[in-house]
């Protein structure tokens, strides 16, 4: 059966999103990105806008486990997928995810604008490939930008997270 979402200009339709295991009903215009909905309506500020064209990684979220740029994903099309933002990584008791803890332990940030993106790229990789090589980790993170230049600490944190998850 074909689904047609009738969305005349200015008219918003309810969209049900699955974010961090919770169901959220929100309204989004056809051009709204998931990033805009996360920040403006769901008030989840972990995903940030950097470049707006999928190149910097600041807006990274996991969609069905895969890291994607939420600045390029229409909110309407996110409705079929399980979305995880950095706010959804910690355990219910507030305990940090091993990747988050490794970033803290390595001081792998200065301003932290890019951190949620790097954390989710790392978490997505280690979930899929817990034995990822150092080279694979570097390659996975090569599409994320840190303008403070903390790359060395970030890669070290990701490697530590892998070693702890493996142990």
């Amino acid at each position: 059966m074909s689904t047609t979402t009738s969305t005349a200009t200015g008219v918003r339709e309810p969209v049900t999103l699955n974010v961090n295991g919770r169901s959220w009903t929100t309204s989004a215009g056809p051009r709204a990105t998931l990033l805009e909905v996360l920040r403006r309506e769901l008030r989840l500020f972990g995903a940030r806008e950097g470049c707006g064209v999928g190149m910097c990684g600041a807006c990274t979220v996991l969609a069905d486990g895969l890291p994607v740029s939420s600045c390029l994903l229409p909110a309407l099309l996110a409705s079929d997928r399980a979305i995880v933002t950095v706010e959804g990584l910690a355990a219910p008791d507030g305990g940090l995810h091993p990747v988050q803890q490794a970033f803290v332990d390595h001081n792998a940030f200065q301003c932290s604008y890019c951190t949620p993106g790097f954390v989710l790229m790392t978490a997505g990789l280690l979930d899929e490939d817990p034995d990822a090589s150092d080279e694979h980790i570097r390659e996975q993170l090569s599409g994320n930008l840190c303008r403070c230049g903390c790359y060395r600490e970030i890669v070290a944190a990701a490697i530590t997270a892998r070693d702890r998850l493996e142990a």
């Binding site: 689904t3 969305t7 051009r31 999928g54 990684g57 895969l66 994607v68």
Partner: protein, 275 residues
């Protein structure tokens, strides 16, 4: 703008037949979202392909692989079928942009966008790939070499859907190399991309150069010497100037990279390499 989410190819074709040029197809969105949000593209009917499962398959045929239009670059890079039978295409797909883009960007979207600075088209042309276009009027196949007609232009008609790409398997023993030359950062689009398939033509090595002109360039010349081939390509192309390199710079890069790609392919090596 109306957003449609059809669930079969038949429904997509009906929407395209009804709305013609007012309808635009939306697959991974990595190109379309940028165009839509910058208002470079005004769309009345947005036809999303994410629920059309039948477009996403990667299937092995006798001497070819059929890659569905909405197979993602990540799926192509990771597919055991593509890795075994079209190793250069798998390797090239893994060099495009970054992990997030590859997780959603599609084969059909890559070709339909026809960005001049793109890695897969010269490699697909080197393989002799053909795109299958379907409409309610029928079906036709077009060589990928003819599909892209100019900067961001293809011969796909408004009521046609690119269904899949048929990629012939290169004969065993043929070395195939793609050199992706980037001038800014690792995830950037290529400044020059050179695909070389050793032994693929009667004259020797088939060379296709991408990212230097409106469409990928393949010369029909009887020349075997790698350096002479490099010079021939450098002389024949009218390279563009953009932020990744001036025309003069590209001409010199093409000369060196064509020679290098040909030499590597003729050793029997098969690899897609960022240089």
């Amino acid at each position: 703008m109306r957003v449609h989410r059809p669930e079969s190819v038949g429904e997509v074709l009906a929407l395209l037949a009804e709305h013609g040029d007012d309808a635009k197809l939306f697959a991974g969105g990595t190109a379309m979202m940028i165009l839509l949000r910058s208002r470079l593209l005004a769309v009345q009917q947005l036809v999303c392909l994410d629920r059309v499962g039948e477009l996403r398959s990667i299937d092995a045929a006798a001497d070819a692989v059929h890659i569905g239009a909405t197979a993602t670059l990540r799926e192509i890079a990771d597919s055991p079928i593509v890795r075994e039978r079209l190793p250069l295409l798998a390797g090239t797909a893994s060099l495009v942009a970054n992990h997030r883009v590859r997780a959603v960007a599609t084969m059909g979207g890559n070709l339909a966008e026809a960005d001049y600075a793109s890695d897969p088209p010269p490699v697909l042309i080197g393989y002799g790939a053909r795109a299958r276009l379907r409409s309610l009027r029928g079906e036709r196949t077009v060589a990928v070499a003819d599909l892209i007609t100019s900067f961001y232009e293809t011969c796909i008609l408004p009521d046609e859907l690119l269904v899949d790409v048929e990629v012939p398997v290169a004969p065993p023993g043929v070395g195939a190399v793609y050199l992706k030359y980037t001038t800014r950062s690792v995830e950037d689009r290529p400044c020059v991309g050179v695909a070389a398939f050793a032994g693929a033509t009667t004259a020797g090595t088939r060379v296709v150069v991408g990212a230097v002109a409106a469409r990928p360039v393949a010369l029909d010349i009887d020349e075997r010497d790698p350096d002479a081939l490099g010079s021939a390509y450098a002389d024949a192309i009218s390279p563009i100037s953009d932020l990744r390199g001036s025309a003069a710079y590209r001409r010199r890069a093409v000369k060196a990279l064509v020679a290098r790609a040909v030499r590597r392919a003729e050793t029997g090596e098969t690899a897609a390499v960022r240089v």
